[in-house]
Amino acid sequence: MPPELPSFLARFPAGSVVPQTGAGAPVDQETWVVRREVLLDLCRELHASRETRFDLLLEIFGMDYPEREQRFEAVYHLYSIPNGRRLRLKVPLAASDPTLPSVIPVWKAADWFEREAFDMFGLVFDGHPNLRRILTHEAFQGHALRKDYDAAKRWILTEDKIWQPRLEAPERGDSMFERMTINLGPSHPATHGTFRIVALVDGEEIVASEIEIGYLHRCMEKMSETHTWQQVIPYTDRLNYCSSFINNVGYCRSVEQLLGIEVPPRAVWARTILSEFSRIMDHVVANGSTLVDCGALTNFWYFYQCREEIYGLLESLCGARLTVSACRIGGLLADLPPDFVERSRRLLETIPPLISDVETLIDKNRIFLDRAVGVAAINGEEAVNWGYTGPCLRASGVGLDARKAHPYDLYDTVEWEVPVLRGGDVYDRYRLRMLEIRQSLSIIRQLLDRGVPEGPFVIDDPHVALPPKDACYNQMESMIYHFKLIMDGIQVPPGENYGFVEGANGELGFYCVSDGSGKPYRVRVRPPCFPIFSSFPTLIRGHGVSDVVATLGGLNVIAGELER
């Protein structure tokens, strides 16, 4: 039964906001089709009204349907933290005039998302202060995610075309220093990836800055459209490559929902455990690099040892350490190794001492406290407006965690809590991750105590999962199924679905659209660190250059996920 429509909708002209119901409507979440003239007003109401309180803008992206009369569509995913409710807005746009109002006045998170939709689809957002390309380079022509853009058509960037920012900030009368513009990155040891930060400094203090990203835009979403559903899994590995397993789970869950299939309990159990191990891996890299950048190199070695141990476990399951591709639509790629429980238990013993070692060294360390406490702080309300999710949001006092708010897999069957801190600064982001590591360990321990559920590791459905190897070799029918699955891929029925998991960085969403052919019509990734990083210039304003370095690691911006 669809949720009640808010009363303020009556004020909008008839036909300008049409909730989709009945046959053909998306079943995964409430969807409204909105005319662009009323979009900004509607968003203001949705954000402010007591009834709806959609305080979090998850993402904005474009869609392209060349055969439709109104070719383009801008899609908005909203979330209400107080009500736990989701809403999708779709704004159809004609190819001749793909303009619509910018919603930055309502949600600051819209800034980069709108630039991305402009870059990829050519949608023009009226009122956007800085509508230029964000992911592709300066010499790029055309809009890459449009259906008529050839996936392999490249453009060459030469040095003279590289963007040079002109930063301005009001002069202050009392400054004793000359203004200077400095450039960090895109190849800089402290950026841990490839971003470019250009900052205008007044003495040591940053008065304005701008970020350029896109140096690792690998066209993952376009590539997905040229592969079968199953073949997309390796691409998802390389989003947030510090915790690739969670990405696999997120994508597979979304497709499974679209197919309407149930994953066997054994696979769900293993997915939950390995997701938590991956979360630990991710958190130790985030914290480790924060500490390295503050000069505390030793901790990195301790932390890295955790990773090596977990790599061993993953390797025993799938043969790869980093880019695991260990999930399949409908389950896992292989059965768990016989010593899985034993190995995992051993990890539960080796990891805590390494974590405690770091805590002893760092938690009360004067040097680190001086570098971290109160640096780049953001309060909860601002963080939500900027589209934060995950550890960075929880460090600012908002306890949103998709594993608790919308439990999936086995998270509602174990006892654990969502750690929340209030400072919102570099120190709390570091502490919060340490607390979460302990929660993850506790989740894993409880699941291991339950024992491995019996049964198959992948769904027994020859239209989705490959039949067992010996059946392929010995039975005609299985061989045909194998052939069909490899050659044509899984036939996903037409429809759309937004599936999400709590990634290591926040809510990681996969919006999958199928047109019934063997390939995805569109796979859209909601990258959690994208909106977080867009707030970076605000975070560092008024701080020193050294604080930039200390802040970056804790935000855990992973280029693969940021730019896809």
């Binding site: 992911l135 592709t136 380079h137 790029f140 890459a144 853009y149 050839d150 996936a151 392999a152 058509k153 490249r154 453009w155 060459i156 960037l157 030469t158 040095e159 590289i162 895109p186 190849s187 800089h188 040891p189 990836g193 490839t194 896109g214 140096y215 690792l216 835009h217 690998r218 066209c219 376009k222 590539m223 390796p234 691409y235 590995d237 390389r238 490559y241 510090c242 890299v285 990195f300 070695w301 890295y304 040892q305 990773r307 090596e308 790599y311 350490r321 980093l322 880019t323 280029a559 693969g560």
Partner: protein, 167 residues
């Protein structure tokens, strides 16, 4: 090189320079993506690349002689890579780590360079996505051998070179 007696040896100066060079590379990690994480594993405690004399990881091109390109290079990054390569002093070597750096990997796409050898010369290609740390180490050890071979080749070519206006 041969040792005479117990405490001194004779050699040619350039052979000595080679020997020193190949045993104390100062790598510049040009890490952009997932491969960079495996590069981190390689230098971390477990695999510890320092055992082969590579521990002085330098992020400044002017101080390094071995560039390890770890990760996907996009068209947006290409001019930066070229510039940094040009800033490294001679003699210099390049290791291309991973499928992406070698050939674009499985990104046959509108924004990805199809192998860094489109713009800079590469000495050793290390396949894998990502290569295991063992693989990377093997690749880097190949550079050692290449230092020797290159120098010999250089010497030979000098000897055979005809004066410019001879013909």
């Amino acid at each position: 090189m041969e040792v005479q007696g117990e405490s001194w040896l004779t050699t040619k100066l350039d052979a000595f320079a080679d020997w020193a060079q190949k045993n104390s590379f100062w790598p510049l990690p040009f890490g952009t993506a997932c491969c960079a994480i495996e590069f981190m594993s390689t230098v971390s405690s477990h695999y510890d690349m320092a055992r082969f004399g590579y521990e002085v990881v330098r992020f400044s091109p002017r101080q390094s002689d071995l560039m390890i390109v770890a990760g996907t290079i996009t068209d947006k990054m290409a001019p930066v890579l070229k510039k940094i390569y040009d800033q490294m002093p001679d003699p210099k070597w390049v290791v291309s780590m991973g499928a992406c750096a070698c050939s674009g990997g499985f990104y046959r796409a509108y924004h990805v360079m199809q192998g860094i050898d489109e713009i800079i010369p590469v000495d050793v290609y290390v396949p894998g996505c990502p290569p295991s740390p063992e693989g990377l180490m093997y690749g880097i050890l190949q550079v050692k051998e290449k230092v020797d071979r290159d120098r010999r080749a250089l010497r030979r070519s000098k000897k055979n070179r005809k004066p410019k206006h001879a013909a």
